[in-house]
Symmetry: C2
Subunit: 219 residues, 2 copies
DNA sequence: GAGATATTAGCACGACCGTTCGTGCATTTT
DNA sequence: AAAATGCACGAACGGTCGTGCTAATATCTC
């Protein structure tokens, strides 16, 4: 037990293992965003990456754990792409608008090749009880709480009317954003992103405390 | 070739085949609405229904044709549940509101056990080119045209402002409706349906030609 | 009745699935 | 140098997949 025994940071074996896991997960989120978590197969990942099936398997212990790790990896990517760019912005209506734009840019840029990872896998598992749905529900609550927090932030600055319903606004914004994604993908057409943007700004405008607030002028 | 030989409508053999096909498809839409079109398997359907694998297979000829037939069957069920109840209603804002309510009732009542069939399978195939995505895109265009038609209908009656953008309104309504579905399923909570209803009525109100139109009073 | 036709069953195939096992090998610890 | 640790490998397991065959069964036409 005495102190210096484990110097984990210089163990080349575990470093190599973590690197392999990262490689696997990078490919796994790509596959899952296009074809779903069910389409993840250990053999396919091994073939794609030039590894052995048992090597991939050993890194996760079970297929379900691989799927859960894939969800966690996607959560980090989402957070980096959507939330990080606006982290420094002070609360307020402007931050809320920037979030919408950040999300639309994230879906549009195909940060995941299948569009929004969570749109895909939530649809896949929202009616199938189990650890995967539980993990996705947690992620959804977190995302919803983030949006809701920005809405209440914009209300606290006085930019949104005090009697506006933050929950309804958050629901509406999320609905507009997320629905641009499948329509753009299904029809191979980017105009849904513009419609979503316009509709989101419009909703915020109709809930604004003062219709002449400069920040709202930009249509 | 001479006329009277085949009286197809009373041929008990093909009737029996059609009945089997219907039985298979009834189960197939249930499975696909919960687990997706990929989760359809001929062996599973045969086991569930007490048929032979080859019997199920023979009725469709290929797995892809089974999947396409499942989409067509779901389209009929959707049409009966959502569109038929308001078919007799004359065009106008009231019909548009009834459509929203009909859709929400359809999702809420679990006409498909996994919620909206098309929400599930569109997410599954929207980034996967092929005949299935093509069929789903066709269905989506049809659904979108229906909503758009009701919006322009409500504008033609003068209930919506002449300068309102029907495409944006249709996009917004569809987004609100469809997004109530996964949230309700994922969190096992029906309040998203109420939020969607409120938000849809609100959007229609802000696009109304006259804010005092009686039909719009009900919040 | 006989014979044509359409639906269903039985069986086998090759491919892939998740998982387990024993082993080789590089690294770290003693 | 020796022992212990942790990753990746190849082979094999029982299952399920979609899809071909062939045979049996039900229904129609004559």
């Amino acid at each position: 037990m005495a102190g210096s025994s484990t110097n984990a940071s210089t163990d080349g074996r575990v470093l190599r293992g973590e690197e392999t896991r990262r490689t696997v997960l990078r490919r796994a989120v790509e596959i899952a965003s296009v074809e779903g978590l069910d389409a993840l197969s250990i053999g396919r990942l091994a073939t794609d990456l030039g590894l052995s099936k048992s090597g991939v398997f050993a890194g996760f212990g079970s297929k379900e754990e691989l799927q859960l790790a894939t969800i966690r990896a996607a959560r980090r990517i989402f957070s980096d792409a959507v939330l990080a760019p606006i982290a420094a912005e002070p609360p307020g209506l402007r931050k809320l608008r920037l979030l919408c734009e950040s999300w639309l840019a994230y879906s549009r840029a195909r940060v995941f090749p299948g569009g929004c990872f969570f749109y895909e896998v939530n649809a896949e598992y929202d009616a199938r009880p189990g650890p995967l749905r539980d993990a996705l529900a947690d992620n959804w609550r977190e995302w919803h709480a983030t949006v809701l927090g920005l809405v209440t932030g914009a209300r606290d600055t006085g930019e949104l009317r005090a009697d506006a319903d933050p929950e309804d606004i958050a629901f509406t914004l999320i609905a507009l954003l997320e629905n641009a994604n499948p329509q753009a993908l299904l029809l191979d057409d980017d105009t849904p992103y513009e419609r979503a943007h316009r509709a989101a700004l419009r909703r915020l405008r109709t809930d604004a405390a003062d219709p002449d607030t400069p920040a709202l002028r930009a249509d």
